[in-house]
Amino acid sequence: MIIETTNLAKRYGSTEAVRGLNLSVPAGLICGFLGRNGAGKSTTIKMLLGITRPSSGKGRVFGLPIDDPAASLEIRRRTGYVGEDKRLYGYMTGEQMIRFTRSLYPRWKMDWERQLLREFAVPLNRKVKTYSKGMRTKLALLLSLARGVDLLILDEPTEGLDPVMIEQVLQALVRAAAEGTSVFFSSHQIAEVEQIADHVSIIHNGRLLLDGALDRLKESYRRVNLVFSNRAPEKEFSMPGVKWIEADRHSLSVFASHNVDDIVDRARALDAASVDVVPLTLREIYLESLKEAQHALV
């Protein structure tokens, strides 16, 4: 595991930004970190990098403890970071920012720097404070990708970018992964995560809602649509794998994480007039899981 947390928690006054988070991110993969605004994504990332200290719980990156200053320094040597705020040093030009960052990373990759400069077309001679949001994002990404690190931790790496640029960024991330760099990126954009992520972690209200290989999630999550001639027997379907049921007079829409065969068997045993098993997109899995989580709290 390249990133591992055990009951990681962060409290700001009376607000619990992160509570009991148990992340497990395998090395060598692209991991997408999904969650709503304020769900705790940025706070978690800042704790991993030692920018913020956990209130309780533990975390490890590269097997090193995140709350030990010396270990944290080593973590930062091997990590490329792009934060939520991509403002960088306004008084420096793009070129100065590159030179500055390059001086701190002995494994800096000049070939990456050159290629990304070509692709991203950042105006190097202008001061960063004159940059648009998109330019800042591109420069911030360049600075993290060219570092020659083992792990990239990116908070909303495609924020403020147009679709063409987004594709270029995703391509750069894929290239990095192909060279052996592990990628951990948080995003609002489910489509991006679905396109390149091997592993998905979904955080909600400071806790992990879902965590696993994307292919496995998409292979086991299903929606089972059932129609009955009589009243739909919702209560008959509280069984393992059933996460959430939407019921109508004659129909049930069952959102299931696994065990679909048993659900179908039960439906047939109850003389369902129609049984329809539908695969789900990541967006649907995410939204339905949110519904279930919110319902569980009520």
Binding site: K46, L49, G50, I51, T52, R53, P69, L73, R76, R77, T79, Y81, G83, E84, D85, K86, R87, L88, Y89, G90, Y91, M92, Q96, R99, F100, T101, S103, L104, Y105, A140
Partner: protein, 243 residues
């Protein structure tokens, strides 16, 4: 390149203060006659060395004190307001080193700010047909900068302890004014007035207005101890702070 970054961050302030102080000194020397007339003194009879001491060590000292106070501002807390703190904190450098580099650069800049303008006094005096010895210039410069570096450290400390863009400046200026006022109001505190101390008031030969005898080493030592304490506190605060 951390020094380069710290330099770029403080460059404008440093150059502004340097130019300002130097201009002030040039004006003071070249406008010698006019200044004295404004103070209702007779230029013919007024001792030049007294003039230098009075005007320079008080006026320039105030200028220098506020300059170095402001030089102390900036740093990670300010970066948080500007949005780059996360980037800096994710770099493979310890917070101690970040603070250390900024402090070291600031101290160097403060010393230069104190030395350069003062050192130009003897030269400018020659232009006016007066003379002023370099040794005295260096003594006064030394006393002010080494004894007064604590002001830079105060500004530096406030910049790490207080959040917000304006709080350190507001509190810093307030502290300076209050300390000066208090030590003038109360007889008991009079010998400890910082302005008098830095100008060497109690060690002056009143006939020559030169610093005679040994420098006030114990006072300087206390001041330096406070300076170092403030810097160490700044490091400690930064290491523990949440960003």
């Amino acid at each position: 390149m951390l020094w380069y970054k710290a330099w770029l961050e403080s460059r404008a302030r440093f150059i502004f203060c340097l130019v300002g102080l130097q201009a002030l000194i040039i004006h003071m020397v070249l406008a010698y006659d006019n200044v004295l007339i404004a103070f209702e003194e007779n230029p013919a009879t007024y001792k030049y060395t007294e003039y230098v001491w009075r005007v320079f060590t008080y006026r320039i000292q105030v200028g220098w004190t506020f300059s170095v106070l402001f030089l102390g501002f900036g740093g990670l807390v300010r970066e948080k307001v500007l949005g780059s703190a996360d980037f800096t904190l994710s770099l493979p450098v310890t917070r101690r080193r970040l603070v250390g580099v900024r402090a070291a650069l600031g101290v160097s800049q403060s010393l230069i700010l104190g030395l350069l303008p003062f050192v130009s006094v003897p030269f400018l005096s020659l232009v006016m047909g007066k003379s002023y010895p370099y040794t005295q210039t260096l003594l006064f410069a030394f006393l002010m900068t080494v004894g007064g570096i604590v002001y830079f450290c105060l500004g530096f400390f406030l910049s790490t302890a207080l959040a917000g863009e304006y709080a350190p400046a507001a509190i810093g200026v307030l502290v300076l004014i209050l300390v000066n006022q208090f030590s003038r109001q109360f007889e008991v505190l009079k010998p400890f007035n910082p302005q008098d101390f830095l100008s060497g008031l109690h060690y002056l030969d009143k006939s020559t207005y030169f610093l005679e005898g040994p420098l006030p080493w114990s006072g300087i030592a206390v001041s330096l101890a406070c300076a170092v304490t403030l810097l160490l506190l700044s490091v400690g605060i930064t290491e523990r702070r949440e960003f």
